[in-house]
Symmetry: C2
Subunit: 271 residues, 2 copies
């Protein structure tokens, strides 16, 4: 990490080993309770595609399956174009530590064109970021310090006393700390900032972990490049919670209401 | 197909070639305008996992990337367990025709246990299936004949005159034709019955095709086994439509309101 480098760029960095194979490492700045923040790991999986010399177009879809706990330290990540069409390209990615698969992912990139457009997932009305206070996390995970999260509603529980909230919808303004211009990798990382919905619902700490996360990209490269480092509005809500797994569905908008990405994940929980 | 075999089972059938490799074929009964109905193809990808002798547990998540048009005729499908943990297993699947990848998919299976449970994606109020008329499709695709779809609202456009509907939410009762007991494979196939949201919105026929589809399973095997061949309630709505792609988010419930699955897809469109 150079003096000028943002912690996210330092954490994301991959070193080319051979065609389609890179070495990266987990980042102390983005550490979670155990292992790395999953949003950073997902961003690294996308980054391997974005760096690939054969890449065609920009990201359309990304699905990351977290296959095993990732240990602190180095890893290898491979990105492979498995099918290249005229305007779309299909990718598989694999992350390994000690020759064991810890992550598998798939991606789709495409040359995108102007077409008819509309949006139905509309940005909720929200006060401006500076009118929304910062939360008092009281939690030790380093990655929480890497995001400004201003909760409009559905904030993390203040008391962990097992009260059941009626629903798990959360709306918040999100920004990198320090502020950093938005790009596809940071958008993917932001798509995982929503703290686990079961914690919001139950206010009880239970063992849990995301097993699969999908991001659909609605923003184009050009649009992100001109966005700068402004806040992004995130919204998320749980759907079903049963038999050890729950899922959520979320959206990310620009401050002016442009839909940047939609995201879904399914999360393991115990008890 | 034997005299007693349901068309879905006949279409789904895979012949073992070697460990983890099967041969299947597209089905005239589930043909779409061009090539097979994508829901059947997704079900075949899951079926290869379900048949695998090393499978641990039941499906939790499935993501299917449609990499290229699938030609009518035979294909090879490979399912590979890439990581097996104590209670979860991660899968990759690849479908090939003439040695070219036409589909890549990932899946997660797990041994599921009783845990705390709740649901937030609640089934909308709906009249019983027999109170909802069948649509007059007026479209020639054979797979439409394989599903009873009773549209509660958001039915397909009656006139293709380019009128813009305000939103693309659709709610419908779904059942196999002829009726067939629900299982994981048929649930996946049903997760793709929602006709493309852009057609609902624009009432204009444009070239399009699903590029990626994800299903999260909330139902357990046992629950499906006892469900029988009753109708399933589906709900879907588009989110963002721009630069040649749109996505939708949907849910499937049992008639008694149990959340069976949630599903998302991103679809290419032209113009």
């Amino acid at each position: 990490m150079t003096a000028e480098q943002h912690p996210f760029d330092a954490a994301l960095a991959l070193t080319a080993m051979s065609d389609g194979l890179w070495q990266g490492r987990t980042s102390a700045a983005y550490a979670n309770m155990v292992g790395p923040y999953g949003g950073l790991t997902a961003a690294q999986a996308l980054h391997a595609v974005l760096l690939h010399p054969q890449r065609l177009g920009e990201p359309v879809a990304l699905t990351v399956n977290f296959a095993a706990p990732i240990g602190d330290g180095p890893f290898l990540i491979e990105a492979m174009p498995v099918r290249t069409n005229r305007s779309t390209q299909h990718w598989t990615m694999a992350m390994r530590q000690n020759d064991e698969v810890v992550l598998r992912a798939t991606g789709i990139t495409a040359q995108r064109r102007e077409t008819w457009s509309t949006r139905e997932a509309l940005m909720p009305q929200a006060p401006p970021p500076d009118a929304v206070p910062l939360p008092n996390w009281g939690m030790p995970m380093p990655w929480l310090q890497r995001y400004e999260m201003r909760f409009i509603d559905g904030e993390p529980p203040r008391r962990w006393e097992g009260q059941d909230s009626a629903h798990t919808r959360t709306r918040l303004w999100i920004r990198d700390v320090p502020a950093r211009p938005l790009d596809f990798a940071s958008l993917v990382a932001m798509a995982d900032v929503f703290f686990p919905r079961i914690l919001r619902r139950r206010a009880t700490l239970v063992p849990l972990g995301t097993v699969s996360m999908t991001v659909y990209f609605h923003a184009r490269e050009e649009q992100l490049r001109t966005y700068g480092s402004g806040h992004v509005l995130g919204q998320v809500q749980g759907q079903g919670f049963a038999h050890g797994y729950f899922d959520h569905s979320g959206q990310l908008w620009s401050a002016s209401g442009q839909l940047l990405a939609t995201t879904h994940q399914i999360v393991y929980f115990k008890e």
